[in-house]
Symmetry: C2
Subunit: 305 residues, 2 copies
């Protein structure tokens, strides 16, 4: 089983407007809601690919209840830990005129120390049943910056492999615990290390403790730095995407599936690019476009770097 962790779960709300213009008043044409947060989107991808998956994280208030209801509707197994605060919303404003999407991310509820300690106990019991643990996304206020360091250590105690897909300090502070894979994107590489050179930043992360560094560069593909070697993986021709936000979560999902199977790096990276392309062409984050999956697998190039 693959366990995905979403500490800052969200109700992802999408507003369709004619065109977003700063300082103007807009009529929202349609409102859509969906359970979100990166770990939940990773779980959606794994679930769509027929993998056994479990979502955990923190959930509270009426917005938390709505997130739970949406997980149930999507048949996504979850074992969330309750908090008193109210789970956050994100609002994505989609302009019909441009197709552009403007994201507003609420910071999330304050988590008390007692709630965090209770989550750690809960997490250990779930990690004991998991072969792979994926820790994704931002931390709500009150959760310590060392959260992913702690979760990686607990997961390893329980013989689970680990992936950290985060940003800034929570990512940097997780390295010393030795996660099997960290999966930053280009911007996160720079933000977490302060190093503008991407190759140096990847080496620094590996030196600081990560088993492997798999960095995503949007349409330019993926670079992997591992103890077995370095690779690049990309499509041999560009693909038209409508939903770039889900691409990184699909990469994390493919890596988790590969770790669970114990597959080699070229095979894992091929899946990562394929799943990512299928996520980019699906209309909603966390879905996969089945036609694209079939079509692009053979056009992925994996090369030793």
């Amino acid at each position: 089983m693959i366990l995905t962790v979403t500490l800052n779960t969200a109700l992802d709300v999408t507003y369709d407007v004619d065109e977003l213009r700063p300082d103007a008043s807009h009529r929202v044409r349609a409102v859509r809601e969906r359970a979100g947060g990166k770990g939940i989107n990773v779980a959606r991808v794994l679930h769509a690919m027929g993998r056994e998956v479990l979502c955990t994280g923190l959930l509270g208030g009426p917005t938390g209840a709505r997130i739970a209801a949406d997980l149930a509707t999507a048949d996504l197994p979850s074992a969330m830990s309750p908090i008193d605060g109210e789970s956050r919303r994100t609002v994505s404003v989609v302009s019909a005129a441009t197709g552009g999407s403007t994201l507003l991310n609420e910071p999330g509820p304050h988590v008390t120390d007692e709630e965090w300690q209770r989550f750690l106990v809960h997490f250990r019991s779930l990690a004991a049943r998991a072969r792979v643990v994926v820790c994704s996304g931002s931390l709500p206020p009150g959760v310590p910056e060392t959260a992913y360091d702690l979760l990686v250590r607990i997961a390893r105690d329980e013989d689970a492999r680990t992936i950290v897909d985060a940003d800034g300090m929570p990512l940097a502070r997780s390295l010393e615990a030795g996660p099997d894979i960290v999966k930053p994107n280009g911007a996160e590489l720079v933000a977490s290390t302060g190093l503008a050179d991407e190759a140096r930043a990847m080496r620094w992360m590996q030196g600081a403790g990560a088993g492997a560094v798999v960095a995503t560069f949007g349409p330019e593909g993926i670079r992997a730095l591992t103890v077995d070697g370095a690779w690049t993986a990309r499509l041999d021709r560009p693909i038209a995407g409508v939903n770039p936000t889900g691409a990184g979560d699909a990469v994390a999902a493919a890596l988790a599936a590969g770790l669970e199977d114990g597959r080699d790096w070229p095979s894992m990276l091929r899946d990562a690019v394929t799943w990512s392309a299928a996520a980019v062409t699906a209309p909603l984050a966390g879905d996969l476009d089945a036609l694209t999956l079939d079509r692009v697998r053979s056009s992925v190039r994996v090369e030793a770097a």
Copy 2:
């Protein structure tokens, strides 16, 4: 007692961001929530001015429960009619860099015919206790465009005076019922009549049935066309405002208070400009800045037009 009607009640959510940029991702620094909808803001102003007021309208779902809780916190008496659908949110994104505010208005829940009929019965019982009824704002889906026409007729049957502060068809369709005052702004005058000339549009509205037309023109003040004559009212010097959205609701509140007292037009219009200036300088819609109230009253000029 003054009864304010808000058929499309809202939870007004404010997001503080550094600067809103279309197609970018934003961290929301702070989230604030408040019961809203124009009728509720009119009631806030009247309550702040010591008037006996009652809010009615349609309310549903968890968001409706939150609106009700905020009304209770603000000590605003309310008698809402329940619906199955969920009350809407509005999101106001305030950019720290520019001070500008970008508004996103959800359309509102679908109201069934049965819910609407039930509201009409409820409204009649409240209107029987009211001296003035103020109908404000947009209609949620399912409520007929003739809603304000119906409410004005019922209110008059119950010997209440009426003000309609609305836009487009709901405003245009209310005129035949003969509301005592309609209060469009410049843009609404044009949108409701199709006439670009504001003076002609005001005469057209009066000809179509409105007892008086009081039109607001932002910092340029107010023009009133009544059976007793025509006036303009404005500040003799401009005032720096932080919250222009509440200005129109403060005008409606002042007119309602004037109708309840049976005061003459120059006195009502002086209050309307004064309250509006105090609303513009208060940080939150529906509040009044007490210092401004005191300071500007003597600088309001009311002139026969």
